[in-house]
């Protein structure tokens, strides 16, 4: 059994230590907001926070998580939403960022992590922080605008 802290809850899962955190979150815990896109840390759809840092859960093994705090999209914007999570979600909705929506959990996780570190990111900062998050619908222009919008919301 491996013990994990996900969205503030202690969970025990019966998986091998080399099971990617992505599949623990999705198949064992049943939180499906975190998406499978590539399995190789090339697209960012599976991004979660590990002690506040954005990580690709498809390449993070369950056995390596230890007592780190894992936050998924459900934790970022749910009942115990962080200020960054709330601002990002509000901005995403205000600017109608989503199209197919499949990558957006990962985009929002990366955006919220950026805003925690950097209160007023420039376009270049956003490009650098989110370049690993692929969106095949190419909603990038709106994502960029929404990150700026979220930054303004946090400032207010």
């Amino acid at each position: 059994m491996i013990k994990l802290n996900i969205n503030g809850e202690e969970r025990s899962v019966d998986v091998d230590a080399d099971t990617p955190l992505l599949w623990v979150i999705r198949d064992e815990i049943g939180l499906t907001g975190t998406k499978f896109g590539c399995g190789q840390a090339l697209c960012g759809a599976c991004t979660v926070h590990m002690d506040g840092q954005p990580v690709r859960s498809c390449q993070t093994m369950a056995g390596d998580v230890g007592d780190a705090q894992i936050v998924t999209i459900e934790g970022l914007v749910g009942a115990n939403a962080t200020p960054e999570g709330k601002a990002v979600q509000a901005a995403w909705r205000a600017l109608d960022v989503v199209q197919c929506g499949y990558c957006q959990s990962g985009q929002m996780m990366s955006a919220a992590a950026l805003l925690t570190e950097n209160k007023k990111p420039t376009d270049e900062d956003i490009n650098a922080a989110l370049n690993g998050n692929v969106c095949r619908c190419a909603t990038y222009q709106r994502i960029r605008a929404a990150v700026h919008d979220a930054a303004r919301r946090l400032e207010a």
Binding site: K35, G37, Q89, V98, Q99, G101, C137, Y140, R144
Partner: protein, 735 residues
Amino acid sequence: MSIQDRIGGGAPLDMSRRGFLAIAGGAGVGLMVGLKPLPAEAEAAGGLVQFNPFVKVAPDGAITVVVKHLDMGQGPTTGLATLIAEEMDADWSQMRTEFAPADATLYANLAFKAQGTGGSTAMANSWEQYRTAGAAARAALVKAAADKWQVAQGEIVVDKGVLSHPSGKRGTYGEFAEAAAKLPAPVGAPQETPFKDAAKFKLIGKEGLHRIDNDPKTDGTAIYTQDVKLPGMLVAAVAHPPRFGGKVKSFDDSEAKKVKGVEKIVQIPQGVAVLAKNTWAAFKGRDALKVEWDLSGAEGRGSEELLRLAKEAVSKPGGAVAATRGDVDGALKGAAKVIEADFTFPYLAHAPMEPLNCVIDLKPDGARLIYGSQFQSIDQPTVAAITGLKPEQVKIETVWAGGSFGRRAVPTADYVAEAASIAKAINGANPVKLVWTREDDTKGGYYRPFYAHKVRAAIGADGMPVAWEHHIAGQSIFAGTALEAMAVKDGVDETSVEGASNLAYAVPNLKVELTTLKVGVPVLWWRSVGHTHTAHVVESVIDELAHAAGKDPVEYRLALLKDKPRHTAALKLAAEKAGWTPGAKPEKGKGRGVAVHESFNTVVAQVVDVTITKNGGVKVDRVVAGVDCGTVINPDVVRAQVEGGVGFGLGAALRDAITLEDGVVQQANFDTYEPLRMSDMPKVEVYAVPSDAKPTGIGEPGVPPLAPALANAIFSATGKRVRDLPLGDQKFTTA
């Protein structure tokens, strides 16, 4: 026009080449749609009253729109809900949506005469149907209120979903839903339910209406196929042959069986399936399989050879004639100047963010499928044929799709058939979720076909074009499918030549030929289909002719589009908003190019600004689009689709290609087939031409002009024409 004609009987678009779908859907695909209330439904759904196939009203006043189209991001849920809300004078906040079941008698795409989503038809084919459904529901609800209040129907006003009468009486739709459902049919005869006059629109065409899928797609609750979990369900991963057309010779599953969680391993026509209790175990089990393949009948050629064959084909005449007018040979001989240009295009994968998947629960008396179905009228009979069920025993529940770009609508229903084959192989012992990895998706075929083009075009002494000879060679999307006889006429698959055979420019002498090559790699429509390559060729060559004539590219096009008012309007709008100055030379290191193209009855013009970087790369700075898509239903969704089309086209133009060596696909994941990333995304501005014509397509038409406008911008900066896509890592020097 009867209400039945308006709601379901008409075929408002001429989509003859897609008429094939009527057959694909099986005989007896009728379009009759009743407007009769369905009280039985009301009981089953806890007071939810269904007024017609498209509208349900709940006691709390919530209006649920039944969406007959798959939403893979293009926004038809928002658009269709807007049409119903508009006619019902509803408040946007009371609107809900659900996807329609597989039932072509109620939910056919009127452009296809079968149930399916594609060809940018979702809004165009539904424009009258959904408004009629909304108007009919409104009429029934108003009648019920009038009966209860003992007032005339005409005195009742509906605003934001609230009915009111000058006497002070007020009520909600929810209060009258049950009574309205009990009114004798038909409620709301056509003359009582006219469409709203466009001048009275409160929602259609208005800014500020947010996407209806915003909430579930920003809190992780939207359910995609990948997220479906049924009791006892096993996850399946399939080992596919390394070359297209290969088959299983034998396999050794002893190691795969040892993987914890692996439950079953079965051979299916498509390969070997490993079924496990969870996704990771299915992947590990699949990797542990040892399969020996029979590749005797497989495609073994490489991309270089295939492209060489296509180039050879276009270098000589003799293709099937797709279009001809005037005397091209004579005009070429007598021309002042002839330009000859060769183009090549690679295979392209759709690469939606959600790799292909499908959930199926097979029982002796029926099958339940849950997935992002884009083509119910093909998927349903295909599953029936595999499982031995009747089509009506195959129930399809559609869920959100994480992109598609055409990939989920397949004449062979490939991935759905694979899921059904697995379910059959285990005799339906468990529900099955078939999951493809990214690698499966990239290597799985159904690509945009490769093509070679050769154009010889000539101008006269006045610089205007006199002749256009165009030969296209590549694979046909329809050849080899059950739809070939229907879709290929006189050797011409329209999807190979569309956008060239119907050249918009006034060129007096024209000939377009097609040579179709038979290759064992499955191909498919890819966002904007034939226009993905024809637009690049046409818009590059017309640019060359303008240059040869010493004319400004925008003015030259406008002169040739005098009888094309929509092209003219879109082009002028893009040029004006971009600040196009005729004859202006960009500063060193910068370039500007233009293209205009019609696809799916929509015209899009784009002006692209580029910078040639210090290391000779290309950076796209800005794209300004002018769009004529008829009536704009949701301005922001139109903008979003063109923004997305620009990004989708740009990724392909910059670096995407599927290549084969000895029949083996060389790309696997996003490192070798890398989509556009945020740092590549230019600033995109989208402007719509005001129009009160019927809405036309918007999901695809933003794609075709991007590559040629980019190529023309690169030419203006470097003097070099881009005739082979993608750009790849070639370096440019500024002129």
